[in-house]
């Protein structure tokens, strides 16, 4: 058994990973909650967010704006706008026209869109095949507590991630648009009868979920100091799995699922002999277990068959 400080260090590593997974998972859960669709290009929108953030930072640096206090918020805003609009476009192109088709068609359409986004970055981004260095804009260095190394950068990433989650929570619980999203998630027809504009609500949901993916993309760039056009593949699969563990359709479930997935991956690598080879096996086996034993996830609602 590894010493306690090593376990705590691994748990911290897992939480860092989990925050990014949670932000992606919230998008999946929002889309599923409102439209009952699994938007499989969401992982690539996460990647697009990272590239949009990087491009903004490089553009700002080119005009002499390098100060992180100004550059980083602008990068977040630009990336959220880009992914938000692409998310809305994705809904209008791949989801809405297929509303009356089999759910499999939406799945295929969004999967294809993900491929288009990924390959477009590969082809059109300068030397898109290579991993790209991401500027280190957060404070470096750190301190130790009980043998656990804590980096200032990690604290900042956790802070930004949690702020994003609280913001989404506030938007959903405290705003008119949030009320509309909740209403559509519960019963779209009844919500429309009560005067909710379905199209605008769906647009807002896709903008919100995709914008969160951009936040996750930039945080991933800041944490790993590197982004790559294929980062959305595993990011998407894990984000979706995290949403499924937490309970598809439940925002808090997605957050719990993301954190749990991250901690599961790192602790399995740390505790099981040759665990690093099986970290994904263990994590996805837990997803399967959840789907069998508790299909509605940790915080998911009891599904009701509507007639």
């Amino acid at each position: 058994m590894p010493p306690l400080e090593l376990l705590l260090q691994q748990a911290l590593n897992g939480v860092m990973l989990g925050v990014m997974y949670a932000l992606i998972a919230v998008g999946f859960t929002l889309f599923f909650g409102v439209l009952d669709v699994i938007h499989f290009s969401h992982g690539d929108i996460f990647m697009l967010g990272a590239f949009a953030g990087l491009s903004t930072l490089l553009g700002l640096a080119a005009v002499g704006l390098r100060a992180p206090v100004a550059a980083l918020p602008l990068a977040f805003v630009a990336a959220i706008l880009v992914t938000g609009l692409v998310g809305v476009l994705a809904e209008r192109v791949c989801v809405k026209p297929l509303a009356r088709s089999s759910p499999l068609m939406t799945l295929l359409a969004t999967l294809s869109l993900g491929l288009v986004i990924r390959e477009s970055v590969l082809i059109f981004y300068p030397r898109g095949a290579d991993p790209k260095p991401f500027p280190q804009l957060l404070p470096q260095g750190g301190f130790e507590v009980g043998g656990v190394a804590i980096r200032y950068e990690n604290l900042a990433i956790l802070g930004i991630g949690l702020t994003a989650m609280v913001t989404v929570d506030l938007i959903i619980r405290r705003t008119r648009m949030g009320a509309a999203i909740r209403a559509v998630a519960q019963d779209p027809e009844a919500a429309q009868m009560m005067g909710v504009n379905l199209d605008r609500t769906v647009d807002a949901t896709f903008f919100l979920g995709s914008g969160l993916a951009a936040v996750a993309g930039i945080l991933s760039g800041l944490y790993y100091s590197e982004i790559h056009f294929i980062m959305g593949i595993t990011g998407g699969v894990i984000g979706f799995s995290a949403a499924a563990i937490g309970g598809l359709g439940n925002v808090y479930g997605a957050i719990v699922g993301g954190l749990l997935f991250g901690v599961l991956q790192t602790t399995s690598a740390a505790l099981i002999p040759r665990g690093s080879e099986f970290r994904d096996v263990v994590a996805f086996a837990v997803v399967m277990l959840f789907l069998i034993v508790r299909p509605r996830g940790i915080l998911g609602e009891q599904s009701v068959e509507r007639v």
């Binding site: 590593n13 095949a129 991993p131 080879e277 970290r279």
Partner: protein, 402 residues
């Protein structure tokens, strides 16, 4: 007055001149039209994590074909078909099947990734298509069979790891190692050979951890390795993953020397890793491109051709493979079986990487392994580096003193 017989009037003169002019203009086209067209395939990772190496290889292959097509002495006109194996065995087998089942394709310059090269060996053999590997280093690609179709112009990982282990232990004086490797055939075999030679050299492996290819997060593995306080973290894998391991090592404060394989020896590693790359070690078969016998000419021609991507470490091997195949087609004609036999018997071929000679298994016997260190964002031959001259100290040696 009638015109004298034997003299040309103005109209006839103009007509004659036009015919001559037209003929002159059409000569090269006609000559090309008379040349038989031969198709060659290139297969490598054009998308995915190792695409930068694949694109460098493809460009080098295309450069060789362009040069040979421009040479009036060439008997055939060469067309190319480039296929993407994505560095994935399943995709590679599909690409190999497509190439080998196309009768127009006479031979191929095939695969950078070991996982794809080993997966397709049987496909080329069954299809009877000569395939010359240009980048994959797994020994089994040439040594696990006796197929006449398979040859390899680059070296294997056996020599590479022997030199790497001896250098780390005997020259640099490191004793304890944490081994990280990707779980593909490439990473596993590298780890196996490196561990074997390391133990023979007197080094000690403290931990061995396999990781998934294209894994993003290595904090768990590095935290585990850090607890053993190794002097060296050795990584057996390719550039994108190597970048992440090195960057995350620094972020987690792992105070150890970073040593990689030929898989990380790319411009992309230095560009992406940034200052973190300083002092990283890598080992490659052959000499640096600029120091190869024809390296300068190759680099100049490559730059002139205006390719977007750099040729990377294995570009010259793809260039040589294409040239050797074209030489074979020129010598024995566009017949797969004859080309395969001819290639297998290659002896002392004069190429830009120096003389190429295949053993009974079709393996080029490259005697030289070059040691590289990352210095100021560039891979520098160890012997030419400021680390070797004593001007700078390797990170691993600095940590030992702390």
């Amino acid at each position: 007055m009638s015109e004298p017989v034997g003299r040309l009037n103005r109209r006839q003169l103009l007509q004659g001149a036009s015919v001559l002019g037209l003929g002159w203009a059409l000569v090269p086209g006609l000559a090309r039209a008379q040349k038989k067209t031969v198709k060659l395939a290139f297969i490598g990772p054009l998308t995915g994590g190792t695409a930068s190496n694949g694109l460098g290889g493809r460009n080098s292959f295309l450069l060789a074909v362009q040069e040979r097509n421009a040479d009036p002495k060439t008997k055939h006109h060469y067309e190319t078909e480039t296929l993407d194996d994505e560095c994935k065995p399943t995709v590679a087998v599909q690409a190999a099947l497509k190439a080998s089942s196309d009768p127009a394709i006479v031979a191929g310059v095939t695969h950078y990734c070991s996982v794809t090269a080993i997966a397709t060996v049987d496909t080329y053999h069954k299809g009877g298509m000569p395939a010359m590997v240009w980048g994959a280093v797994l020994p089994e690609i040439t040594y696990s069979h006796e197929y006449v179709e398979i040859t390899r112009v680059n070296g294997t990982m056996i020599n590479q790891n022997q030199i790497a282990a001896d250098f780390a232990v005997k020259t640099l004086g490191f004793k304890t190692f944490a081994i990280l490797h990707d779980t593909t055939d490439y990473g596993r075999a590298h780890a196996k050979w490196f561990t074997e030679f390391l133990e023979k050299a007197g080094g000690k492996v403290l931990s061995t951890q396999g990781t998934a290819k294209d894994q993003k997060d290595y904090t768990a593995e590095l935290t585990r390795a850090k607890a053993d306080r190794p002097e060296v973290v050795w990584y057996g894998g390719l550039t994108p993953d190597g970048v992440r391991v090195k960057v995350q090592m620094d972020k987690l404060g792992v105070r150890a020397q970073f040593q990689g394989t030929s898989g990380i020896k790319s411009d992309t590693f230095n560009e992406t890793t940034g200052p973190s790359a300083e002092g990283a070690l890598a080992f490659v078969e052959g000499a640096p491109t600029e120091k190869l016998p024809g390296g300068k000419r190759f680099l100049e021609a490559y730059a002139k051709a205006g390719f977007k991507e750099p040729s990377e470490a294995y570009g010259p091997f793809a260039y040589v493979a294409a040239n050797l195949i074209i030489d074979a087609v020129e010598a024995v004609g566009p017949d797969r079986a004859k080309v395969a036999r001819h290639l297998k018997q290659t002896k002392n071929a004069n190429t830009i990487i120096g003389p190429v000679e295949f053993d009974a298994h079709g393996q080029n016997t490259v005697p030289l392994i070059s040691k590289y260190v990352s210095q100021d964002g560039k891979w520098v031959l160890w012997e030419d580096s400021e680390y070797a001259s004593g001007k700078r100290t390797l990170p691993g040696h600095k940590f030992k003193k702390m």
